[in-house]
Amino acid sequence: MSGQTTTRDWRGVAAEKQDEVPEQESLILRDRSRRLLNDLLRPYRSQIILLVAVIVICNAASLSIPFLVKVGIDTGIPPMQAGRGPGALLVIVAAVLAAAVTQAVTRQAFLRMAGRIGQGIILELRRRVFRHFQRLSLSFHEDYTSGRVVSRLTSDIDAISEMLQSGFDSLVTAVLTLTGTAVLLLVLDVHLGLVALLPLPVLLLFTRWFRRQSSIAYRRTRETVALVIVHFVESMTGMRAVQAFRGEERNQEIFSRLNADYRDANVRSMRLIAVFMPGVKLIGNVTIAAVLFYGGWLAVGGEVTVGVLAAFLLYLRQFYEPMQEISQFYNTFQSAGAALEKLSGVLEERPAVAEPRDPVPLERPRGQVRFEGVEFSYLDGTPVLPRLDLTVPAGQVVALVGATGAGKTTLAKLVARFYDPVSGRVLLDGTDLRDLAEDTLREAVVLVTQENYLFTGSVADNIRFGRPDATMAEVVAAARAVGAHEFVSALPEGYDTQVGKQGGRLSAGQRQLVAFARAFLADPAVLILDEATSSLDVPGERLVQRAMRTILAGRTSLIIAHRLSTVEVADRVLVMDGGRIVEDGPPDLLIARSGRFASLHRAWLDSISAQGPGDVAERPQARG
């Protein structure tokens, strides 16, 4: 059995995520990434020029040391051997020391400056991306999902930060060392220099091969580790279901396989390094042997000095090591490039719901809502509201009723301007919502959904989220109004109790009551409740309903609910079907008629009725 289940594809099929950019083989960035990079670097332009100067000096100092050793051997020692004192030697030793100090000072300056620029860029990038995500419309967020927002702002930023911290420094150093050494070798002795540089093309080809292979291997490692992590986290958070359904064995099977895949991917990339590193070393060692031979030959003939030979040996060590380093950091560069690509993609998204250029002020909103010829369809083109005209006078409590997909939620979201209509307009007190500044609109219109999100912090903080300047007394009054005061006071630290991650320390019903208090405290002119009471139990819902009569009094309200109990508090009921309003009137009137609402209402009464079905009584009487 297990053999058969192992081969079955347990993961299932899913659509490709559109932000998985194909990772480029080279370090060349696309236009938008480059634009972003330029934009981020612009404030540091003069600092970067200074930085380049400093690093050039630093490398020159560092490279000059073996050269000075050579000069020391060639020109410092012979006079002494001839008994003429160490004068020349002392000068050279002093020069070595000076070079060492220069290198130390410039290196320190370079690391600090590069650090400041890098961290500054990261800070700016974080702020920019975060703010942009906040600005983007909900339609964007619905597609994009919070998980991806989080990974943009954490792992992608980290990848860039990693690159700036370790990769950038070593890249600059390596490039400068490489070119500097090549030039120096040629200056020291053209012939010997050419011999020393002869393997360079081989080395470059070899490095290119490695880069290609390692980018494939690296991608594979990341894919496999991602699967390990997802499976691990999901089975840990879902352990209750795993244990209750004896999923342990199957899970272990899946995990072991993912784990083995990850191992294989890792082995592959480690083996690549196992080939590459000694390969570079081999090329270096062959070069050293060649230099020893040819240099020795030239030295015998007196064409080069022993000092030159010594300097060559010192330089060659420096020459090949950075190559190994660059390749080690290649993955860092690559993932930073991919991260930048994704971030620049996000930053290019424009909010679907744009801020007006000249916002219209709204003094003391009364809360009259009008739909004028509103049409709406989601991105894929399916029309949700074909054409809607509706006026809700200020202060009216309207219940929206209809099957799932009838357009109730869309209507509510249009009033809260989570979306803009495709055509027509939505007006608040006669002003098109598109002409209102975001802040103005949010003060006037509040939408409470069944996703009652709580933030880290105390209960009071969460209630106050609706109105940051509210006093404690106002917070408590709001909690009382929605019937939350009772349970909040019973918490260990009352209103100061931390709600835990995403309100985890509260039950679903309690979270909802807090969300309610939050909306009540915000005191908007228009209040929209979208299924807001659905996760409450009957006493909870009744408590809220009782409070609602007071909360909704004199306030324009749109209420969406499955449970028709909510409708009892409404002045007016709209029955929706296929995006159209098919019935409209006061609840009593509609119940009295024989329309759709009347039959819905009857079905609902039946569902809550106290009478059990007939067969219950026929079954054997259970013992109590």
């Binding site: 594809d9 299932g12 899913a14 659509a15 040391i65 050793v69 020391g72 020692i77 002494m80 160490p86 030697l89 070595v96 060492a100 290198q103 290196r107 650090g115 890098g118 961290q119 974080r126 906040q134 927002v149 702002l153 691990f232 840990m236 958070t237 879902g238 352990m239 209750r240 244990q243 209750a244 004896r246 999923g247 272990q252 083995a260 890792n266 083996r271 000694p278 070393k281 081999l282 060692n285 062959v286 030959w297 015998v300 040996l313 060590r317 099957a403 609109l441 709580l454 989220f465 009054a477 019937g483 995403q502 939050r518 659905s534 006493p539 009744r542 309903q545 909360i551 079905a603 106290a610």
Partner: protein, 594 residues
């Protein structure tokens, strides 16, 4: 240290490759040291004597040695990859196996993030140390010792000088590394806090937008980001100082060696070739010496990591299965004087609970939010264990049964359904991997979950976090189908229908009646419609079962029950209820508004 030592048993299967690795490493060091000596021979021999004939053999020797060195590195790294990754993979597998055995009380107390960091970061740290760190520690110590001895032999005053210069480097490296780890942790913690803000800003985006509080959230984020910036700058400063120090010491030593060496050559006590070899060898020491500090610190980290891993591995599961198996189970369920209290809690959640559910019977459990209904149902499959009394199935204490036997008899559809990022089919067959297509279809039918066929890839569509997102009602129906599919003798429905709309709920209930006829059922209910699935109702009040009876009896005689389930808002009943409610909650909701 002891925890790290325990990990070595995972290396046992790789004894042969490990031996080869050690041998090649030692040989490698020998060669690395020899190559500069060949250089010396060339300078002092052929070059000094003008003897071109001896040049070629020496150069060839350097070539051969260089090639062997590269091959040795290749062999070592190649074998090492297998061994250390095998070790890491084996520990990870074992950790996962162990975690799956640990009970819900453990999983409730541990964040999955903490566990994740153990199976990822901590294991890599251990892998890196056992694989490279330990090897390099020994090799480097050896290399330093040999080179120093060699330097002493070449010319002892200079050797002494070089050895002395190593002291401050090692000392500073170690101190730096400790400081660096501390500050890196701080950056990590601060980044963690920042990630929390990000998570909340993404998850709560609707709420943030609804209240127009983007500015506030941005300010919180900005605070955090600036904190990370400041600490990172501190970290940059620390490493800048350290790396500068690391480079300056060898250079100063080199200058001193040049000065003293040249003086020695001038006085004839040192040959020119030796001086060249000396400087080359000396530079070979720079890297090992500075690495010493890193590797020692890495060892410290590996020990901490090993402690964190063994902490989990050493936690004994306190819910272990017995030996018993129920032959031909009927599903006769009894709670006998059951008490349950959470670890460390003063008050029990449940006390003195007596309840009998006979084969084929269905009992609804009704109670206020937080009254312990879900806890009660979790005692049956032993997701938690009773703290007093016992739960029996067909007369067997559930603690005497083997866990697979027990849990194959009981299936629960949870209110908050857990879906994994897998195919629909895999999610449904969690409890019965061998279910046939017909059985899957039947379960889908019962749960009214036909929507799965309209997903882009039908049953093969991936759902969960990484796949198609489903509505709350859809998720609940899948959880129900999953429970039904496992053909339990005892079926627990933990408020499974709360997110369904009225019509779907009615359809599901109709289908469930058939399933419940063949199984013992416990239904946690908030609404009258769900209660009607049951033959009898148990009312949970103050942690115990206060009343058991038929729905309409309880409606008629128990006011607390009526308060929980009656949704009538008829005026007189409403007034009635107002009185009841005020009795129940002592609530005063009047006169606090505006």
């Amino acid at each position: 240290m002891r925890s790290l030592w325990r990990m070595k048993s995972y290396l046992r299967p790789y004894a042969v490759p490990l031996t080869v690795i050690w041998v090649t490493s030692l040989a490698g060091i020998g060669i690395t040291i020899t190559i500069p000596l060949v250089g010396r021979e060339i300078i002092d021999g052929p070059v000094a004597r003008g003897d071109t004939g001896a040049l070629l053999p020496l150069a060839l020797l350097a070539l051969v040695l260089g090639t062997i060195e590269a091959v040795l590195v290749l062999v070592r790294r190649w074998l090492l990859a297998n061994a250390v990754l095998g070790l890491e993979t084996a520990i990870r597998d074992d950790l996962y196996r162990h975690l799956q055995r640990l009970p819900m009380s453990f999983h409730g107390a541990w964040q999955s993030g903490q566990l994740l960091s153990r199976v990822t970061t901590d294991l890599s740290v251990i892998r890196r140390f056992l694989g490279f760190g330990m090897l390099f520690l020994v090799l480097i110590t050896l290399q330093i010792a040999v080179v120093t001895v060699l330097l002493f032999q070449l010319y002892w005053p200079l050797g002494l000088l070089v050895a002395a210069s190593a002291v401050p480097i090692v000392a500073v490296s170690m101190r730096f590394e400790r400081g660096y780890i501390a500050i890196s942790r701080r950056v990590q913690d601060e980044q963690g806090d920042l990630a929390t803000v990000v998570e909340e800003s993404a998850g709560g985006i609707r709420t943030i937008k609804a209240f127009g509080r983007g500015g506030h959230v941005f300010a919180t984020f900005d605070d955090g980001a600036r904190k990370v910036y400041r600490t990172s700058m501190e970290k940059v400063g620390l490493s800048a100082r350290f790396f500068t120090f690391l480079e300056v010491i060898p250079n100063v030593t080199l200058a001193a060696v040049l000065l003293l060496g040249a003086l020695a050559v001038g006085s004839g006590s040192l040959s020119l070739g030796t001086l060249v070899a000396f400087t080359t060898l000396m530079l070979q020491l720079v890297w090992p010496i500075s690495s010493l500090g890193f590797i020692l610190a890495m060892g410290q980290e590996a020990m901490t990591a090993a402690d964190r891993v063994t902490e989990v591995l050493d936690t004994e599961p306190d819910i272990v299965g017995g030996r018993g198996v129920v032959e031909d189970p009927r599903g006769h369920l009894r709670f006998e004087g059951v008490e349950f209290r959470f670890p460390g809690a003063a008050e029990p959640v449940l006390r003195d609970v007596w309840l009998e559910v006979r084969p084929g019977e269905t009992v609804a459990v009704v109670g206020a939010t937080g009254s312990g209904k879900t806890t009660l149902t979790s005692l049956v499959p032993r997701l938690h264990d009773v703290t007093a009394g016992r739960v029996t199935i067909d007369g067997h204490d559930v603690r005497d049964l083997s866990l697979p036997a027990l849990r194959s008899m009981v299936a629960t559809a949870f209110e908050e359904p857990t879906l994994f990022s897998m195919s629909v089919r895999e999610n449904l067959t969690l409890g019965r991997p061998d279910a046939t297509d017909e059985e899957v279809e039947a379960a889908i039918e019962v749960a009214q979950a036909g929507f799965v066929h309209r997903l882009p890839w039908g049953l093969e569509t991936r759902i969960g976090e990484q796949g198609m997102s489903l509505s709350g009602g859809q998720r609940q129906r899948l959880a129900l189908a999953r429970a039904v599919l496992s053909r339990p003798k005892v079926l627990v429905l933990d408020d499974t229908l709360s997110a369904l709309d009225v019509e779907t709920e009615a359809l599901v209930e109709e289908a469930l009646r058939h399933v419940l006829r063949d199984a013992t059922g416990i239904v946690v209910a908030h609404r009258a419609s769900t209660v009607l699935l049951a033959d009898r109702v148990a009312l949970l009040l103050d942690g115990t079962i206060a009343h058991v009876g038929r729905h309409h009896e309880l409606m008629a005689t128990v006011p607390e029950y009526r308060a929980l389930l009656s949704a009538h808002l008829d005026d007189d009943l409403d007034d009635d209820l107002d009185d009841d409610l005020d009795d129940l909650d002592g609530l005063d909701t009047e006169g606090v508004l505006r």
